[in-house]
Symmetry: C2
DNA sequence: TTTACATCCTTGTGTTGCAAGGTACTAAAT
DNA sequence: ATTTAGTACCTTGCAACACAAGGATGTAAA
């Protein structure tokens, strides 16, 4: 019932496509738990919220791409630290390729020469 | 009930994020109707199907980003040729920015230095 | 014992890409 | 004339999923 901000919508849409990739990337850099993952992503302007991240981490774990271990927190309840599995690392390599292909595709389409257009 | 092909899934996911952007880009290059848009995108390895494109073109038209005109086809029923409106061109400029920002973000996250990681 | 905070998690909603199926028009073949 | 083939339009129903909102539980300080 709400007329959306078209652009903000599309930034969100674009981000969605790379969310899983982004999460695997930060976990490759080093293990993390929910808040730290959110912080790292925010540091590069990729906005994720808890309600998105929890289900996704669980999904990735169920797919065998991640494992976790419990660790005491200096404050509050213990944390679930997630790590890439070998399968996760493999998946990440494939996503790397997918990302590079996508960048190449978009670059290509940004520079279609007129005479190659049909119809 | 079906175990998905993880990678193909993710290529699809990534593509989704840039679909609207891609469509505006090809229409900036020159007006087109459904089939010609699909062909142009396929030429750069971005796969879209009819069932996706029709609703999307209608949505973009309703948002005022596109207009169309009818034109006789050499064979079969007339075609709906879509063109960017001024508002569509404006939106495209903003999507261009969003895309470049995303590429920059992902690039940044691919190269997080260890010592910047927390927790 | 109450407040503050950090951590975990679930539920409900809205969007949307896609598979599948449907209608209609033209032209060629039977 | 009818059927077939090809091209174009469009809709319906399903499944995935990001996010907002809300909830439970643990520690520590006031």
């Amino acid at each position: 019932m709400e007329q959306n901000n078209l652009v903000e919508n599309n930034r969100t849409q674009m981000r969605r496509g790379v969310l899983e990739y982004s999460i695997l990337l930060v976990l490759k850099a080093g293990e993390g738990y929910t808040s730290s993952i959110i912080s790292r992503l925010k540091a590069v302007d990729i906005i994720v919220v808890e309600g998105t991240l929890y289900p996704m981490l669980i999904r990735l774990k169920n797919q065998g791409l991640l494992t976790y271990r419990w660790e005491e927190s200096p404050q509050g309840p213990p944390r679930k630290y997630y790590t890439l599995t070998e399968k996760g690392a493999q998946q990440l390599r494939e996503l790397d390729q997918a990302w590079m292909d996508l960048v190449r595709s978009v670059e290509a389409i940004r520079t279609i020469p007129e005479h190659l257009l049909i119809g």
